[in-house]
Symmetry: C2
DNA sequence: CGAAGGTTTGAGAAAGTTCAAAGCTGGTGG
DNA sequence: CCACCAGCTTTGAACTTTCTCAAACCTTCG
């Protein structure tokens, strides 16, 4: 809470690499995937491949578990711009009825992704018999709820630049590679997609990224490779950096 | 989907009055509350009374069930404006770990509200033995997820006026009283609070409400009483009115 | 190497914010 | 029962931020 704590480049705030869960939880997660695997369909989704467009909770509703990659929930109402509503990382869970009934709703793989799909009914049965499944479901859903509520707060309360910084921090935490003095990561979304997620337009987003580059907070090679030269400086661009670390740095 | 369907003032799009669940579900809901009641603490929250400020999922985490009234999740980071992150209506469920770890986070009763509180551990046990509880939990959580994702879309994709209209529609659906030719309802939030929820400032919000009044879409008596003289006209102010009806008009 | 499509940048326009002042409302006490 | 006060709400004017549009510029991929 103090200045001392903020200025320290603590290890626990650094990205840990691209793993859905870490430490002790890793073993349990392996169990979970093994338990589910025999009851589910594996999906290997190519980038920009839409996964489904069928909200609503009927008897045959499906549930997805993201095993690897990066998936977003997007909608595209007629005559309106596409909007990206939420992000899903490995370990995340998504029921079809989590999607609001709106035009063009669907999951979109933003990078090569790997998912399990099964009927919700089946999953509910499995939760009853396998504690590891029900524990993961409840724990993960709570994390996702918190992230989603936070995203509403980000859109509502932060300046454009802080929003962009917050998203970069999130990406770094979830799929960054820590190196000697910084973090490198690939942007899984195009400028236009990031803009749609952050309630900006692509031009403004580009301007902000240019500003961050000229400030020396990040540098860029190619279109997607970002190197956050100074992790602390990037965190300082976002007033919710501590919250992001807490929610994504599990 | 067609013009015909849109122009018809269909009954199923009109508010049904202030009940947490309706129709056949009403009986099951009564069962649910009875089942929970003996294991939970009843809370009668006065308006503007903060309910808790303790996010994080420890062993003694609590879960709330909103029985009556209207509750919001708000945060107030130091030196920053308060932000209202989400709304909770009767029937809604809230685990402490659904709250992102951010300064000044807490539930706030916006009108006289009635909640049940119990330990999450206890609730998880009850879900195992009482199907009505587990069904409600899963079904309601899906609805809340969808609403929260939609809220992100509202903040990101709609103009200020459409955001305001969407919130008014939501209030009307959840606590409106249908009358001969329109719907009347009380605003549970002050102008400043609505603004905080919609990512506007209070001045702009006031201007927009004035505009809606001068357009004849709504009229106002006192500070809180709103009468939507022409329900169809109000729906037409929001491009997501159909989605709102689907999510709130259960 | 060249085409296609995403990205960056500038200039003008629109939307929303800020600040300040006036106007209401609802509650309190005489 | 009315007057008054505190606090919320409304409105105006100037300002800031972000958006739009257009053109130029890169990357990537065939």
């Amino acid at each position: 809470m103090t200045t001392q704590q903020r200025s320290r480049q603590s290890d626990d705030e650094m990205p840990k690499g691209p793993s859905p869960t870490r430490g002790n939880a890793l073993l349990r997660y392996a169990d979970l995937v093994r338990d589910l695997d025999s009851h589910a369909t594996q999906i290997h989704a190519q980038p920009r491949k839409n996964l489904f467009i069928e909200p609503g909770a009927d008897a045959d509703e499906v549930i997805y578990l993201v095993l690897a990659g990066f998936v977003v929930l997007e909608c595209k109402p007629e005559n309106e711009r596409r909007r990206i509503l939420r992000t899903l990382y490995p370990g995340d869970i998504f029921r079809a009825s989590f999607a609001p009934p709106i035009g063009g709703i669907g999951l979109l793989a933003a990078m090569p992704s790997n998912l399990l799909r099964l009927k919700w009914r089946k999953f509910e049965d499995l939760m009853k018999s396998e504690k590891v499944i029900s524990d993961h479901y409840h724990q993960r859903l709570a994390n996702q709820e918190a992230r989603l509520a936070l995203h509403a707060g980000v859109l509502g309360g932060l300046t454009a630049q802080a929003r962009v910084a917050s998203l970069l921090i999130e990406f770094a935490l979830c799929m960054g590679q820590p190196s000697t003095d910084g973090v490198s990561f690939d942007l899984p979304l195009s400028r236009a997609e990031m803009a749609d997620y952050l309630a900006l337009n692509a031009d403004t987003l580009s301007r902000i990224i240019s500003r961050l580059k000229s400030k020396g907070v990040i540098s860029q090679s190619g279109r997607q490779k970002i190197f956050a030269h100074n992790w602390r400086a990037l965190l300082d661009e976002s007033p919710i950096s501590k919250t992001l670390v807490a929610l994504h740095g599990i």
